[in-house]
Symmetry: C4
Subunit: 123 residues, 4 copies
Amino acid sequence: MKAYGKKVWVIAEGYIPEYGTGPEPEFTSHETACILNTSEEKAEVEITIFFSDRDPAGPYKVTVEPKRTKHLRFNELKDPEPVPKGTDYSSVLESSVPIIVQHTRLDSRQAENALLSTIAYSE
Amino acid sequence: MKAYGKKVWVIAEGYIPEYGTGPEPEFTSHETACILNTSEEKAEVEITIFFSDRDPAGPYKVTVEPKRTKHLRFNELKDPEPVPKGTDYSSVLESSVPIIVQHTRLDSRQAENALLSTIAYSE
Amino acid sequence: MKAYGKKVWVIAEGYIPEYGTGPEPEFTSHETACILNTSEEKAEVEITIFFSDRDPAGPYKVTVEPKRTKHLRFNELKDPEPVPKGTDYSSVLESSVPIIVQHTRLDSRQAENALLSTIAYSE
Amino acid sequence: MKAYGKKVWVIAEGYIPEYGTGPEPEFTSHETACILNTSEEKAEVEITIFFSDRDPAGPYKVTVEPKRTKHLRFNELKDPEPVPKGTDYSSVLESSVPIIVQHTRLDSRQAENALLSTIAYSE
């Protein structure tokens, strides 16, 4: 299969709630970037997080193996710093090979029921 | 009418819950790929499912008749293997003619009330 | 302002529930195509509805005045025939001038709280 | 980082409910345009609001600082006139530099749980 997608993706809307309900981690409300790598090579992805009132954080480095998908939770990003909760942010994903990115937010009220999802902006 | 759309579509976010509530099949939570074929020819669609920790499954073969829409439920895909429940996946749809694909997840709590929907990525 | 948008838009996912709750029309669950015409001319829009098991219906004719938006409910389309309830459909919108189309489904449980929304496919 | 995005964005679907529940402002139902400016320059954004039955309002002027995101609530737009509640509208955002815009509606029933989100139309 061809390496589908684009190398740059942007999710303008981001927000990790400060609290959640239910047992962790399945019931935690969270933001997810679903990343698909259809290529034959590893995708080395650098994520930069933008805020409203401070300089950007990152880059966070994530690897997606060839012909694999990764459902990345933003609250698992710890290095160089955790993504703050209760704060609006945006994210830019820059990849070494073409990938496809979809933005999804899960609801803590039910296990794995997404509240919203949208294809990200690519160029 | 012209054959609108593209031949390749990608849905990066996929998840079939392991359980549901209410009478089957109307109340089953499920993922749907809504596929429209506006052309005068049959659309022969091959679907490949990508996972986080194993090789891709498929291709699954689906036909959409000329000037018809098909609301395909991923949990109806059985050959060459069922799409596993409780597992993150992504899907690539490759068609013989241009089509349009929209990704929708239905909520088992109410009949046919969708929880989310987004146009898929095309190229 | 420039005439922004495209002349062809496709909404692959469509479904009008067979029943609703609450006072009409505000609480009726319904599909909406939000159509914006930023141009200086009337947009003459022809809508064709595709089904899974019969020939397409339409064209339905809708006019959007210059520099106006129209939030079109599919259950208001009556000529040449009503859009059937409880049936999957897809829709193609072809306009005389560039427009922008967003697909939204409203939830009958609350007045004007949308359940889902996505930009449509354009070309 | 490169200045990603486009200079024109359109959100065809807009609606601010006439009422809400819970303490202000966190629990107010509201429409948000999440705007990301990855460039090194200020983004001077002009927003025009279109209605179904009157001339457009605006332009509303918003500035997004370099390398910052802004989650703009439409009910905070006051000059030249507030965006009316209980009224369908569409919005066009024209920026001096490339930006990325995502449309999100928050639900008044829960703090900061989005009800829907979609990437806007760009050109």
